[in-house]
Symmetry: none
Subunit: 197 residues, 2 copies
Amino acid sequence: MTDFNPKDAEYLSKLQDYYANWKSIPSYASLCGVFGIASKSWVKTILTRLSEAGFIERTPDGVWVPMRQFFGRPLAESSVPAGMPVSVDSGQGELFIIDEMLIDAPSKTTLIPVKGDSMIEAGIHDGDVAVVEKRMSANVGDIVVAIVDSEFTLKTLDKERGKFILRPANQAYPVIRPQGVLEIFGVLVGLIRKYRK
Amino acid sequence: MTDFNPKDAEYLSKLQDYYANWKSIPSYASLCGVFGIASKSWVKTILTRLSEAGFIERTPDGVWVPMRQFFGRPLAESSVPAGMPVSVDSGQGELFIIDEMLIDAPSKTTLIPVKGDSMIEAGIHDGDVAVVEKRMSANVGDIVVAIVDSEFTLKTLDKERGKFILRPANQAYPVIRPQGVLEIFGVLVGLIRKYRK
DNA sequence: TACTGTAAAGAACGTTTGTTCTGTTGTCAA
DNA sequence: TTGACAACAGAACAAACGTTCTTTACAGTA
């Protein structure tokens, strides 16, 4: 991964605690107190590392902001769905609850289990759960759920000689060139995978 | 109430827009650009009014922070399909991405951003978010977060001639054969990916 | 013992920040 | 047509801020 080490994890945890209270990342001087150190320059080193590791980032103004998914309520508290969760019916009678990071438009979002390995080169595996936002249009390059021969298909949308085509991410599968109008069900906005223990 | 007028509402809306993007309230100088005015002192007047009206407040450090209920997702968007159970925001704390489907032991579970492509053949990409359950032991075949040379590494746990080894899912990376005890931070239990639109 | 690398401290410094105070402009009412 | 007030502009300034550079402490290693 990165050169993110246990020591950094300790500082991250302190920053998360502070942020949970104040919802802001304060000045380097204040962070000295938060981290329990005396050196502003060392604070900078720590923040730079945390950002390289992907936990925080900077706005164009140079202000540090947390990547929200890592600075929420402590996971311990979220055993009951926290925040303003969204319930989405997978269509199979199962009920999943997912948060706003993956879902922008709850009423238009569905979960669809991925079958087959036609998109495996895009890191989408059999058994993964696709988070799909229902839309009838998409851009070239988007991964879309299209309806081909009355079946759902997950493919990358592309264009060839002015016509839309569906490109699998697996060389063993053919490119789909729909005759007539390509029917798009939605666009892939997220992916969830669960590893069995 | 206060002398909060339509003009202030317009500024509030601009601030909300900015905040929706950057999750922070910038300096007075930057806010000049956001509000479309040229005077820092007027920015201060506006912010003071917004705080008197209860839309924002200041931390002890003097940093402006929004009152969350006014700076969240617009209510219209968070409506949930009828018939589905709805949980209500406690008012405090952020929203978390993941639900009970991915997390069994909330207090022991952490999210870690994936860096690099050493596990790409397992469909784990740079930028994905790993859901990790903290444990000190794991089984052969599990994908684990191990601490190697004081760094976090995501690899598949395997055994070779009675000794544990860490196997990357990318032929360009070497197998890691730790000398001494292999230090395991946790086990990968889930994966989340978000596609940008 | 000497060398190396990491963690942290601390001083120096130019820039940015928020604040305050004084002007300017436009509008509406008397 | 004058006065009052709200909406802004702009200058001045001390305090705070982030950055850079140098130094110290310490543990591991050769």
